[in-house]
């Protein structure tokens, strides 16, 4: 024990004797600090992201068909959605998986995307008018009109007609402005004539003499004059909504209600609903208010200035929503609020949206109290039927009508575009859109192909096969009579009128069809890998033809981000300690050479080689433990401070990685141990060679030096 104390004493004295030791110590301190802090942050990020991914869409494990061309990537890959084969035996797979120890729940899924547009405001209003006229004839293409009395329908028709006429007035005013600016040749005479015709009372007096013809004139001549509505890319996850809502307990309904058990329906992700479906002016007002709440000012913030500018210039979406009565009402309200006599609503709105830091709150309140109730704030409202058109697996466009029951968000991830960008759809509608070919459908197509008997020609031989010797290109034909009357059975319409919205599907129906993937939640997440192995083994044994992967793998590039940063950290630590090793080695070599006389003397008075070896090594260990310890202590202090304070998410994307508005990093005990081990290994390895050299110093050498 006294020997150890003596060695530490010597080491301590030598440590303070050489300034180079401070540099070595500094490097060790920096490396250790970095390892503890960055390693801890990455671990915390990993855990937070796991909570986000597992809790919002993936579950702990994802399964998909092992015959798939691509790997499953829940957030899409570089080339878009992965090409997954359909899982056709889901009920059997679910049964087998639920028998595996640690498996808690298996939730069927499939994700896809669609571009949706409701058409421009004229198209929307004319469609409304068309449906009202149909409802008057007893044909309810818009189910919301069912149950309205004749008088109510007539009142709505009159109101919608007034709305269309108001739109025409706005378009006419636009046209006149354009005529004043453009050269005569640039003005489309056909457009001018069409507008003139529909602005006359005569057109509207005779409207119902040929209702459908009048509507088509408006749809084909007037509506194209308004810019098309913005396309929205809607990403959706088809799933067993009941099971999803219980398995992913972070999911909260924000507006409306959950989809009733077993029914078809759609839940829109709240963030997407606000960002994409809300009236742009209102959304910008919301964003301005959020920004001001955190201290940003319109006066000196370029983004906020841009919002104000866009609000001022983009008022047509509001103006085109009003009929003549609402136009007059809104004009009056704005004139009073702005103390203005300006008669043009567009000018008034532009003035109103010219918000400053001083008048913002007052105008924000005015907008939501006075103007918002007069407009459709959202393109789709809760309770509406949304038509989603998507490309089926075969490449054809499929469309379904789904009722929107509400909006939802995941607790803590309300602002995350990653978690808030995917909406939820029932599995039956998803399957309709996916267009999986059932045996019946396959047979129908095969019969059609067989009846036609077309030959297949390859691209390579096309010219030779089609235009080579023996081919004639011209032939006489006989006009035939095509009687298609019996061909049309009205199957599409019947399907719509079956009132799919109200049908309640059984568990067997929901789980019985194809799925693309499924989320597996587990009881004990620590046994994730064993459970994945058990699922893959069960798949092999029972020929389920599925593949199980962790949430991290299923997250694609996203899941690899933490692994990537961990790699960068390890590389940085490797370099720092690598440099430290070289420096320590050189320093110890120099120190050893400087102390040749001392070591020789020690050897002469009886010190064994092992003592010299231990002495040199002890010096390094003391250096490492001291500075490494300071690094660990500093790192731990910083982590503790960060844990108390929290790291706020710098932007909306970070919400997902932080699993909420703040990341609360935890100190990882494992990182401390690893840091300590690294220090000891590095210092010992770098000192080993100088220490061996030191043991070779002989007493004779010490005496020779004296001479």
């Amino acid at each position: 024990m006294s020997r150890l104390g003596m060695l530490i004493q010597i080491a301590w004295r030598n440590l303070l004797a050489s300034p180079i030791n401070l540099i070595i110590g500094g490097l060790i301190l920096a490396g250790t600090f970095l390892f503890v802090v960055v390693g801890g942050l990455l671990d915390s990020l990993n855990e937070a992201m796991a909570r986000s991914v597992v809790g919002s869409v993936a579950g702990h494990i994802q399964i998909y068909s092992s015959k798939s061309k691509d790997e499953l990537s829940l957030y899409g890959g570089m080339g878009g959605d992965p090409d997954l084969s359909a899982v056709t035996e889901f009920p059997r797979i679910k049964q087998v998986l639920e028998q595996i120890d640690n498996v808690k729940e298996v939730v069927p899924m499939g994700s896809s995307g669609a571009l949706i547009t409701a058409g421009n405001i004229v198209d929307i209003t004319l469609e409304k008018l068309r449906n009202l006229y149909k409802a008057r004839d007893g044909q309810f293409d818009d189910p919301r009109l069912k149950g309205l009395s004749k008088d109510e329908i007539e009142t709505r028709i009159a109101s919608t007609r007034r709305h269309v006429r108001q739109i025409i007035r706005v378009l006419e005013a636009d046209q006149k402005k354009a005529q004043a600016i453009l050269r005569e040749q640039a003005v489309d005479a056909e457009v001018v004539a069409a507008l003139e015709r529909v602005s006359q009372d005569a057109f509207w007096d005779d409207f119902e003499k040929d209702t459908w013809g009048s509507l088509e004139f408006l749809e084909n001549k007037i509506a194209p004059q308004v810019t098309d509505a913005q396309l929205m890319f809607l990403r959706y996850l088809g799933t067993d909504l009941d099971r999803f809502q219980t398995s992913f307990d972070r999911m909260q309904i924000i507006d409306g209600t959950p989809v009733p058990k077993g029914q078809r329906g759609f839940l829109i992700a709240k963030l997407f609903y606000e960002d994409q479906m809300k009236l742009k002016n209102a959304r910008r007002l919301d964003k301005l208010r959020d920004a001001k709440a955190v201290g940003r000012l319109i006066a000196n913030d370029d983004e906020l200035k841009r919002f104000v500018k866009e609000n001022r210039s983009q008022t047509r979406d509001i103006v085109l929503q009003f009929d003549d009565l609402k136009t007059a009402e809104a004009t009056k309200k704005l004139q009073t609020a702005l103390k203005s006599t300006e008669p043009d609503l567009i000018v008034l709105l532009s003035t109103f949206f010219d918000t400053t830091d001083d008048n913002f709150e007052e105008r924000y309140q005015f907008f939501y109290k006075e103007l918002a109730p007069m407009v459709d704030l959202y393109k789709v409202r809760v309770g509406d039927t949304l038509t989603i058109k998507a490309f089926s697996r075969g490449g054809a466009i499929q469309a379904v009508n789904v009722k929107v029951y509400g909006t939802f968000a995941f607790t803590g991830l309300e602002k995350s575009p990653l978690a808030g960008g995917t909406s939820l759809m029932d599995l039956m509608s998803f399957r309709d859109l996916y267009g999986y070919l059932t045996a019946d459908k396959k047979e129908e197509l095969a019969q059609l192909q067989k009846d036609t008997g077309a030959r297949t020609i390859s691209r390579e031989n096309a010219e030779a096969d089609l235009f080579g010797e023996g081919n004639t290109v011209v032939a006489e034909a006989t006009a035939g009579v095509i009687d298609e009357e019996k061909t049309f059975t009205g199957v599409g319409r019947r399907l719509r009128e079956d009132d799919l919205v109200k049908r309640v599907y059984t568990d067997a129906e929901i789980n019985g069809g194809v799925v693309l993937n499924a989320a597996v939640t587990v009881k004990d997440p620590k046994r994730l890998q064993q459970t994945i192995d058990a699922i893959n083994k069960a798949s092999d044994d029972q020929k389920l033809e599925i593949k199980a992967i962790s949430w991290q793998q299923a997250s694609g590039i996203l899941g690899q981000i933490i692994t990537f940063f961990r790699g960068v950290l390890l590389l940085a630590v490797f370099f720092i300690f690598g440099i430290a090793m070289v420096i320590i080695n050189n320093a110890m070599m120099m120190a050893t050479l400087q102390r040749t006389q001392m070591i020789g003397t020690m050897r002469a008075i009886g010190a064994q080689r092992s003592l010299i070896l231990t002495m040199v090594l002890a010096e390094s260990v003391v250096l490492g433990v001291l500075f490494g310890g300071i690094g660990i202590a500093l790192g731990s202090a910083v982590m503790s401070w960060l844990h108390t304070r929290g790291i706020p998410a710098p932007n909306d994307v970070a919400y997902f990685f932080f699993s909420g508005p703040k990341l609360l990093p935890d100190l990882n005990g494992g990182n401390l141990v690893v840091a300590l081990v690294i220090i000891l290994v590095v210092t010992l390895l770098s000192t080993l060679f100088p220490a061996v050299i030191a043991t070779r110093v002989s007493p004779l050498r010490a005496m020779q030096s004296d001479e």
Binding site: G213, G394, A399, T452, A454, E476, A477, F488, T489, G492
Partner: protein, 255 residues
């Protein structure tokens, strides 16, 4: 007209080494257009088949209705059952799609694929090459056993077409398009189509022969493994319902 055809035929066959003048090419395009245009109504039953790598074949039967005098066109899918009643309606510059399953009309564009195949509206509509494109002579070429004149067509200002540039291989003897290559605005080749079966029948309303391409083979140049077959199964030149080219009529087919 006969004189024009004769002079064109002479120009095409007798002087193969010389480039065609622009006026001659425009005349040739006008002739191609005129042959395929019917004075009255037109109805065709068409079979569509799309083959794609690793996917099941897309198979459809579609009825094409045309009233060339009014530039009207309607496509109505009849088979398979899942597609029945879906339609596309061209009214003026508007192209509408209808799905009886949703009861919705949507606007679509010239670039939209028809029924999940690599066909476009222009593959079924009357030919308007002379009206929509400016031709340039490229070369005389042999296509199989056929002597052809190759010309490049660029879309004129103000016309919305699926592909702004195309190359045509026109049979010198019969003046039929045998091959067509269509290019995107970037110059990238998008489709190569072959027309190996031109058929003609006498049209009472036109008082002349009406030509139609009995078969079109389209090869996708972007996804090389994809190809489309368009087969004209029957053509009917009887008069169509006066109110046929309306949304109401198309909707009525699904009731």
């Amino acid at each position: 007209m006969r004189t024009l055809f004769v002079s064109l035929a002479i120009a095409l066959t007798a002087a193969p080494a010389f480039a065609l003048e622009k006026a001659d090419m425009v005349k040739l395009l006008a002739e191609i257009d005129d042959r395929q245009r019917n004075g009255g109504d037109y109805k065709a039953l068409i079979y569509l088949e799309q083959k794609e790598k690793d996917k099941a074949d897309v198979v459809r039967e579609v009825l094409v209705y045309r009233r060339d005098a009014d530039d009207k066109l309607m496509l109505l899918f009849s088979k398979p059952k899942s597609e029945e009643g879906k339609g596309i309606l061209r009214l003026d510059k508007n192209l509408w799609t209808y799905d009886p399953g949703t009861g919705k009309w949507d606007r679509t564009t010239e670039r939209e694929r028809i029924g999940g195949t690599n066909t476009r509206r222009s593959d079924f509509d009357e030919s308007r090459l002379a009206e929509e494109f400016d031709p340039t002579f490229v070369a005389d070429e042999k296509l199989g056993k056929f002597e052809t004149v190759v010309m490049e067509l660029k879309v004129k200002d103000g016309f919305d077409v699926a592909y702004p540039v195309q190359k045509l291989w026109v049979d010198k003897k019969n003046h039929n398009i045998l091959k067509r290559q269509e290019f995107a605005l970037s110059g990238k080749l998008a489709r190569t189509s072959y027309y190996p079966k031109w058929q003609k029948l006498f049209s009472e309303s036109k008082k002349a022969e009406l030509w139609f391409p009995g078969e079109i083979r389209i090869f996708d140049e972007i996804e090389k493994s994809n190809s489309t077959l368009v087969l004209f199964k029957a053509v009917d030149l009887n008069s169509l319902d006066q109110n046929m080219f309306t949304k109401a009529w198309l909707e009525s087919k699904s009731r």
